[in-house]
Symmetry: C2
Subunit: 375 residues, 2 copies
């Protein structure tokens, strides 16, 4: 089987990640932060170590500002629902996933906020002026997908962060598809909230996410309950990260994420180059064929979308799966506004998404399959 | 090390659970329900199998009514926040965990609901008449902790379920401490929502929870985002379980939970007897010593609370940990109302919580440590 659906979840996990996960199932099974005994403290220290790794990786000001979540969607929900401002306005981009659009739509339907979907003026991704023109007096937040999960378009988060800083806007970056192979510096890019999916670019098990905060904007929690702290107080604790980490944490996934971060840091250039090479090669090969490609050559970010004219994306993905044993993803990839922008709202698109563990032979085989179908 | 803090998280995981988790890290790493290809379908089928196991285990009407959550707290939040009724009234019990009390308190502080904490008229646990006397015209929900995580008190959920049915009230049972060693029949006990913690009585990894619904009461979701379905619709899907399962599921934990359910079903009587024997033995031994025991002999449910007069519970737990290598938990166990009821609001209590993997020698050693301290 050739697996090219890594934007949904990276399929091959590094042996270091698997080992860390197995270790955690025997060594760190006490509840971290719930008791003072040695086993609980040991688990809590293992979790804290990963908090610090994430904090360092993204240059957060403080490891306490790293919140572990079930998945990237939950991290986005905390930032979006938790910062909602009655009568306020939010700007997001055409590349947003439903994990951004649906919370925004919920707040809009409730009459709490209004929001605008910014469109790209340039082919390769959103830039600051695409956002700036939508700023209203009541705009309080900008949400920006970093790398599109549909076609790899990349937003210029540095300049957008600068704009947000100048205009006093909260800046939320959805790093689901960029973390692990893009350098992101929270402080330098003026990011208030960065959300990540550990089981994607960090090669961790499903599902572990995180919300990394600047500490300047403090959302309301969206869940309430036991945190192991201030047990006599019926109010959710004010302390961070406890305020957002209700109930037992996924210790084995967190410990495995720690190994994933280390793996990524040890292979950062290789990973980046691998994704670049594979995407560029595929894009070049497709440029010679009668197919519609929706990924710019300037965006070799490990994800490429295309269509074969006259064939629905799902039909072609089924063909690749059944006849060639190649896994890709058709349809809309939970990103309806992006497909509207690409003009693919009728047939969706065939998405090829790669990881460090793919190789050139696999992409060659995919190209061969496409050629065979066209012929 | 002797680990007696299993109510926080069972420490030893059955080899079947560990094996299932490891398998999932290599076999089921595609994203379930996100694509149509073989790897995604395989992961989705593995998840569905566990949904069916849980559904069968608790006699739910339909596997679709099994919602996977990050942990038990999230399941409780969905049921409590998602069913909130403006101007309504909720009855809970003195045994509730903060994962029930804090969401209720949040709704009360927002001016949405009022709630009453029912007290026990009998020593061993809440019965229907303790609830009945608090029913008001605007009462819409009863929340009942099944087995107390502090002292093992057990609620009579059958009669309370009957009462709720007769009075048209939604019935939510927090099964965090009972699932895995108590038979619970959703339909027979008229339960609308049952919440479970997989990493406790089902010996699954941290952290996986579930909300099991009757299907008669449908909560609003508390998170919004990608579900892999109806991607073009910005509204959260109406379909269950998708409506509540936003973002990527924790496939390895779910698959491991499946192995845990099987383990529990294959050893159900043994597990129950083991917990019964160990609790009864400990209670008997303590009855001969000058200590305050807060667990009734009629409740040999694997958890026992006590105090040594004049010693703060945390101090004694530290002593057990440091001098005897025995892990227990002091303080309030995230259950402030229970400690008020037990009269332990000043010193908390020493909690001993057992699992199938504990044995009589370990409890003997604990008794020896207590005797040594008293002397």
């Amino acid at each position: 089987m050739i697996y090219l659906d890594n934007s949904a979840s990276t399929f091959v996990k590094p042996k270091e990640v698997i080992k860390a996960n197995i270790d955690a199932l025997t060594k760190y099974t006490a509840n971290p932060g719930r008791s003072g005994h040695q086993a609980s403290v040991k688990a809590a220290m293992a979790v804290q170590e990963v908090r610090e790794k994430l904090s360092n990786h993204f240059n957060a000001s403080n490891s306490e500002n790293v919140i572990f979540t079930q998945n990237c969607s939950e991290a986005l929900n905390i930032a979006i629902l938790g910062m909602a401002k009655q009568g306020g306005h939010v700007i997001c981009t055409e590349s947003e996933h439903n994990s951004v659009l649906r919370p925004l739509n919920y707040l809009k339907e409730k009459g709490i906020i209004d929001f605008t979907v910014a469109r790209q003026s340039q082919k390769t991704g959103i830039v600051a002026c695409d956002i700036e023109k939508h700023i209203r007096q009541n705009t309080y937040m900008v949400i920006c997908n970093h790398i599109s999960n549909v076609n790899g378009d990349k937003a210029d988060i540095e300049s957008i962060g600068q704009l947000c800083k100048e205009r006093g806007l909260i800046f939320l970056v959805d790093g689901a598809q960029s973390c692990g192979h893009e350098k992101i510096d929270i402080m330098k890019s003026n990011i208030d909230f960065l959300t990540i999916a550990g089981h994607k670019g960090f090669y961790a098990p499903q599902a572990i996410g995180a919300l990394i905060m600047s500490g300047k904007a403090i959302p309301e929690p969206i869940k309430f309950g036991g945190t192991g702290t201030n047990s006599l107080d019926l109010n959710q604790p004010k302390e961070i990260p406890d305020r957002y980490e209700t109930g037992t944490l996924s210790t084995p996934s967190i410990v495995a994420l720690g190994a994933g971060i280390e793996f990524v840091e040890n292979h950062f250039e290789e990973i980046k180059n691998r994704l670049d090479d594979l995407t560029t090669y595929l894009n070049y090969e497709l440029s010679k064929l009668p197919v519609d490609v929706y990924t710019q050559p300037e965006n070799p970010n490990g994800v490429l979308a295309f269509n074969i004219p006259g064939t629905h994306s799902n039909d072609f993905c089924n063909y690749l799966d059944e006849k060639w044993n190649i896994c890709t993803r058709g349809g809309y990839h939970c990103a309806p506004e992006k497909h509207k922008a690409l003009g693919t709202i009728d047939q969706g698109a065939v998405r090829v998404s790669m990881s460090y563990f793919n190789n050139i032979n696999e992409i060659s085989r995919l190209v061969q399959a496409i050629k065979h179908y066209i012929k």
